[in-house]
C-alpha cells in the first residue's frame, strides 16, 4: 500500500480534561479483538473498572490503551470532519 494512501493523521485529543482509554474487547477465544470505543478515566485502574462494568457480561478479554499513545491515520475519504479545513 502506498504511503500516501493513509495521509490523514488525526491527532486532536479525545479528552482534554482527563485521560481517554481506547477499549478493545474479545467475546470468544476464537473471535477477533475488536475496538469498542473508549472510556474516560484519570488512571488505568479506574479505566479498567469502568470498562469491566460495561463489558463484563460479555467480554472474555479487555485491552485498554491510552488514547494519547494511539497513532490514528486514515485515508482522506474516511471522515469529512477530519479532512475539513477552516476557510475551505
Amino acid at each position: 500500500m502506498p504511503d500516501d494512501s493513509l495521509a490523514v493523521t488525526v491527532d486532536e485529543p479525545r479528552d482534554a480534561v482527563t485521560r481517554e482509554w481506547e477499549l478493545f474487547v474479545r467475546e470468544d477465544a476464537d473471535g477477533p479483538l475488536t475496538h469498542a470505543g473508549s472510556v474516560s478515566a484519570p488512571s488505568a485502574d479506574i479505566a479498567r473498572e469502568q470498562a469491566a462494568q460495561l463489558f463484563e457480561w460479555t467480554a472474555e478479554t479487555l485491552w485498554l490503551c491510552p488514547s494519547e499513545e494511539v497513532e490514528r491515520v486514515q485515508t482522506d475519504a474516511v471522515s469529512t470532519v477530519a479532512s475539513a479545513e477552516d476557510g475551505a
Binding site: 479528552d15 469502568q50 471522515s79
Partner: protein, 409 residues
C-alpha cells in the same frame, strides 16, 4: 421525553411525530418517515460555559477546552448528520452561545435539512442575539432555569442568573422564537416547580420540560440531592395536576417529562385513576409507540471533540469519534456489544425490571444510573418509584404497534 399535555389533554405539539409516531394525525408540522427512525443528536458544541452549575452533565468549565470541533469541522459533521437522516440537532454545551459561529452552524444545519434547536442557560440571549438566532433558522430555544431566584442562583453558581435567564427568555419570545423551559428536578428545587411555571407563564412561556437528574458529569456529585421515590412520585403528580389545571382554565401549556421512563407507567396509572380505562388504554398505546428509554437508539450525543456517546449524560464512555468515522458508521456499528445490548435490552434486564408489567413503555429506564449506582448495566434504574403492586398491574391491553423514535430538546 414524555408529553404529559399530549397524553392527558390531547394538546398537539411539533415533536409528536418523533415521540409518538403521531405525524399523520397532527395539525402541526411534523418530522416524518425515514427521519423518524434516526436518532435526535445532541451536539455539545463547546465545553466552555459562563456559569458553573452544580448538576452539569457535561462538567462544563469557564475555559475553552482543547480539541473543540472548528467551524469547518462542525459543518462537515452537520453534513454527516444530514446524510444519515438525523431529524434534529440540539446545539448544547457548555453554553453554546459562547461560540460566535453558533448562528453560522445553525443556519448550515437548517439549510442541510436538520432541524436546529438550542439548549442554553439563557443568560447570553440579548435582543440582538435572539434576532440573529431567529434569522439563522433556529426552531426552538430551551432555557434552563432550576428554581425561583434564590435557589436557581445557588444551583447555577452566580447571583443574578435567574433574572438574566428571564431576560433571555423575554428577548427570545420577543424575537418570535419558540421558547421553552428546562428544569432539572431535585430535592432542593422541587418545591419551586409550580411557582416557576406560574411566573414564566406570565412572561409568555408555554412549554415546560422537566428533567430527572441523570448521573453523569457533575450530576454524580449531587446524588444526595436527588429525589426519594416518594418525592419523585409527588413531583410527577404535580406536573400532571398542573397540566390539567392550566388546561381546565383554558390556558394551554405544553409539559414534558424527561429522563425517567417509570413516568410512563405512572402516567398510565394516573390516566386510569382520573379518566378511566379507555383513556388509560390510549395513553398506554402512545407510550408503547414512544418505545421507552431511548439511550443508544433514538437519542445520541456528539461532544465538543467529536466523541459519540449513547446519550448526552453518558460522557465517560464513547462509541467512537467523528474525526475517525462518519457518525452514521459509528451509530450503525453493531460489533459493539454495549450498543447491541442496549438496543435489545429487554431480555437482559434483571431484578424488578425483569418482572415489570410496564417494561415495554419503560425499557428499564436509565442504564447510566443503573451502571453508576449498581455497577451493573442491566440492574433496575435506582430512580424507579413504581410500587410492587404497580409493576404487577396488567396494563390496558392494546394491539402490537411496534416501536417509535425519540426526541430531545
Amino acid at each position: 421525553m414524555i408529553s404529559v399535555s399530549k397524553l392527558l389533554c390531547d394538546l398537539d405539539a411539533e415533536g409528536d411525530g418523533l415521540r409518538y409516531d403521531a405525524a399523520e394525525e397532527s395539525r402541526k408540522e411534523q418530522i416524518r418517515d425515514r427521519k423518524q427512525r434516526r436518532p435526535v443528536v445532541v451536539w455539545n458544541v463547546t465545553k466552555q460555559c459562563n456559569l458553573y452549575c452544580e448538576h452539569c452533565y457535561a462538567a462544563a468549565d469557564t475555559e475553552v477546552a482543547d480539541g473543540e470541533l472548528s467551524t469547518a469541522e462542525g459543518k462537515a459533521l452537520l453534513d454527516d448528520l444530514a446524510d444519515y437522516g438525523v431529524p434534529v440537532v440540539l446545539f448544547s454545551g457548555g453554553e453554546p452561545l459562547v461560540r460566535d459561529d453558533l448562528e453560522e452552524l445553525i443556519a448550515y444545519a437548517d439549510e442541510a435539512g436538520v432541524r436546529p434547536v438550542l439548549s442554553t442557560n439563557g443568560t447570553l440571549i440579548t435582543e440582538d442575539r435572539a434576532r440573529s438566532l431567529r434569522d439563522a433558522g433556529l426552531k426552538y430555544a430551551g432555557v434552563s432555569v432550576d428554581g425561583l431566584p434564590e435557589r436557581n442562583d445557588a444551583f447555577r453558581g452566580e447571583e443574578g442568573a435567574f433574572d438574566a435567564a428571564v431576560r433571555g427568555i423575554r428577548n427570545s419570545l420577543d424575537a418570535g422564537l419558540k421558547t421553552g423551559l428546562r428544569y432539572t428536578i431535585t430535592e432542593r428545587n422541587a418545591p419551586d416547580l409550580r411557582g416557576v411555571v406560574d411566573l414564566l407563564t406570565d412572561e409568555g412561556l408555554d412549554r415546560f420540560c422537566f428533567y430527572h437528574l441523570d448521573y453523569g458529569g457533575r450530576g454524580t456529585e449531587i446524588l444526595d440531592a436527588d429525589l426519594t421515590p416518594d418525592q419523585r412520585r409527588e413531583a410527577v403528580e404535580t406536573v400532571c395536576d398542573m397540566t390539567r389545571d392550566y388546561y381546565d382554565r383554558g390556558e394551554e401549556i405544553e409539559t414534558l417529562l424527561v429522563g425517567n421512563y417509570a413516568d410512563a407507567a405512572y402516567i398510565v396509572e394516573y390516566a386510569r385513576e382520573h379518566y378511566g380505562e379507555a383513556k388509560a388504554r390510549t395513553v398506554y398505546e402512545y407510550l408503547r409507540t414512544n418505545g421507552g428509554d431511548p439511550a443508544g437508539e433514538r437519542v445520541a450525543d456528539v461532544d465538543y471533540q467529536g466523541n459519540v456517546h449513547l446519550t448526552q449524560f453518558w460522557q465517560n464512555y464513547s462509541l467512537g469519534n467523528v474525526r475517525d468515522r462518519p457518525f452514521g458508521a459509528i451509530w450503525e456499528d453493531e460489533s459493539n456489544p454495549v450498543l447491541t445490548a442496549l438496543r435489545d435490552r429487554e431480555s437482559r434486564l434483571t431484578g424488578k425490571c425483569a418482572e415489570c408489567a410496564y417494561s415495554d413503555v419503560c425499557r428499564g429506564g436509565s442504564r447510566l444510573r443503573a451502571l453508576t449506582v449498581e455497577g451493573d448495566l442491566f440492574a433496575p434504574d435506582p430512580q424507579c418509584y413504581l410500587t410492587d403492586s404497580e409493576i404487577r398491574t396488567p396494563p390496558p391491553s392494546v394491539p402490537d404497534t411496534g416501536t417509535g423514535t425519540g426526541t430531545a430538546d
